[in-house]
């Protein structure tokens, strides 16, 4: 059960409950017994330097044509025209193969650095991109949760609100990083991540706001402005210094920007980036488009992990890739696929115990809409990275429910 915090009319003028909670900060938390327990849990996760990078494959990736169950005849019966023949796959075992262009994922899997979690979804699925992505962002299907799971995780792991703890690289902020206490650093192009204005305005625009004021809302806004100034300087500096020989392929998915910040030792533990613009929404003539998208994603992820090796942080970084839903099992008449349900999730990194996790969804027992019936609640994967990777042992508090983690890490 979640509770939406609403502004109450009994609060001082100009102040919302959120403002007051922010103003209370960690000091008030530390005084309560609950706060002490939360601080202890946070301290556990603070003991390591582990980083989680989340990659969103927007548009609804067709998981069945990504990790192809070529060993199941039902796959070819459902997809007589767009089903990918075994000889065109990068076969990883006697049942599954990756798309031909996914050399990066194949290598990661064969090196034991890629976990494949099957059948990820949720009850009463939505077929709307917007709605389903909201559920994945909040980890709270059909609930109206106002904050993102990554934002809630940052609040839980870091009650002291360390600046630059949470980074989102995109054209606009994702709901996933929306937080009660943390202010995510959100940027797109590092070289343009500063305040624009006329030359004669620059001194004033870039001056540090005076921090002292008795007005809590004003103080909060000044802190936000000051934090943004400092973050933009750090990001631009990190990007200026970043030089990597690693080839990220044709579409780098902003992962070199993540690498630059990790190399610059930003205190960030949580990064969020995406394959943007609903790219994976493959309703029409999907095979060549989808193959290209997967090649880009696979190349970029493999390159990113190679870059982590280069800078000596491969043991500290794990990447989680997901999409808001899979595609309908049977192909459509346009040689594409329509919005579906369950999908595999991918977790990659040197510390990952590669292999298959979760039960395979049946290709013969579908729901009434010809969709896969999910076998793994996607929040089990979130719980896995929260507890077993980041070391925050109370994933139930973050996810508003108990989800059994997988042992994905060595």
């Amino acid at each position: 059960m979640t509770h939406t915090i609403r502004t109450s009319s009994c609060l001082p003028a100009g102040l919302s409950r959120r403002d007051i909670l922010r103003a209370m900060g960690a000091g008030a938390l530390a005084l309560s017994p609950f706060g002490q327990a939360a601080q202890a849990l946070a301290a556990e996760s603070a003991d390591n330097n582990r980083i989680l990078v989340i990659l969103e494959l927007s548009g609804g990736n067709d998981g069945l044509n990504t990790l192809v169950p070529y060993g199941d005849d039902a796959y070819y019966r459902h997809r007589p025209k767009i089903g990918i023949k075994p000889e065109k796959l990068r076969r990883i075992d006697d049942h599954f193969g990756f798309q031909e262009g996914m050399a990066g994922f194949e290598r990661l899997y064969k090196d034991g650095q890629l976990a494949l979690v099957h059948g990820c979804g949720y009850d009463r699925p939505s077929f709307s991109h917007f709605v389903s992505m909201t559920y994945w962002h909040t980890a709270a299907p059909n609930s109206g949760e106002p904050y993102g799971w990554v934002g809630r995780l940052a609040d839980a792991m870091d009650p002291n609100n360390t600046p630059n703890y949470l980074v989102n690289i995109d054209a606009s902020q994702s709901l996933a990083v929306r937080s009660r206490s943390h202010i995510p650093v959100v940027f797109d192009d590092p070289e343009r991540f500063d305040r624009k204005g006329l030359q004669q305005e620059q001194t004033l625009l870039n001056s540090t706001p005076e921090p002292t004021t008795h007005n809590a809302s004003q103080r909060f806004l000044r802190e936000v402005a000051h934090g943004a100034q400092q973050a933009s300087a750090l990001v631009r500096d990190a990007w200026d210094k970043y030089r990597s020989p690693v080839d990220y392929g044709l579409v780098n998915l902003d992962l070199p920007k993540v690498a630059s910040l990790i190399e610059a030792d930003m205190p960030t533990r949580l990064y969020y980036t995406s394959f943007r613009n609903n790219a994976f929404d493959t309703h029409v003539y999907q095979n060549s488009t989808h193959a290209r998208l997967l090649t880009y994603a696979s190349d970029a992820v493999a390159a990113f992990l190679q870059d982590m090796e280069r800078i000596g942080r491969a043991d500290d970084v794990v990447l989680l890739a997901f999409s808001e839903f899979g595609r309908r099992v049977p192909e459509n008449t346009n040689l594409g696929t329509d919005h579906g349900t369950a999908n595999p999730m991918f977790i990659a990194g040197r510390s990952v115990k590669g292999g298959h996790y979760g039960a395979l969804p049946s290709l013969t027992e579908l729901d009434e809409g010809d969709n896969l019936i999910f076998t793994t609640d996607f929040r089990r994967v979130y719980a896995s990275v929260i507890e077993n990777w980041l070391g925050y042992t109370d994933s139930a508090a973050v996810l508003n429910g108990t989800f059994e983690p997988f042992a994905l890490f060595s």
């Binding site: 100009g14 305040r195 204005g197 006329l198 004669q200 305005e201 001194t203 004033l204 625009l205 001056s207 706001p209 005076e210 004021t213 007005n215 809302s217 004003q218 806004l221 000044r222 936000v224 402005a225």
Partner: protein
């Protein structure tokens, strides 16, 4: 607006717009910077002397005020 309000100096103009546009008082440091910037752009502290060309400097002043964190509370 500036002339109709009878504002005679850059300082009075800055105070006038800060009062009109912000719900909370800004700090003295920022106020001083705005006055200095406006005077620099006008080339004088006197509004009467700059009456024929003050539109662009006033636009710049408004942009700066509206770029302050405090303007979000307006």
């Amino acid at each position: 607006m500036v002339q109709a309000a009878g504002l005679a100096t850059a300082e009075q103009v800055v105070d006038y717009f800060l009062t009109r546009l912000l719900q909370v008082p800004t700090g003295e440091k920022l106020r001083r910077q705005l006055i200095d910037t406006l005077q620099q752009e006008l080339g004088t502290a006197s509004i009467a002397e700059a009456a024929t060309y003050m539109e662009e400097p006033l636009r710049l002043l408004l942009h700066l005020i509206m770029s302050t964190p405090e303007y979000q509370l307006g």
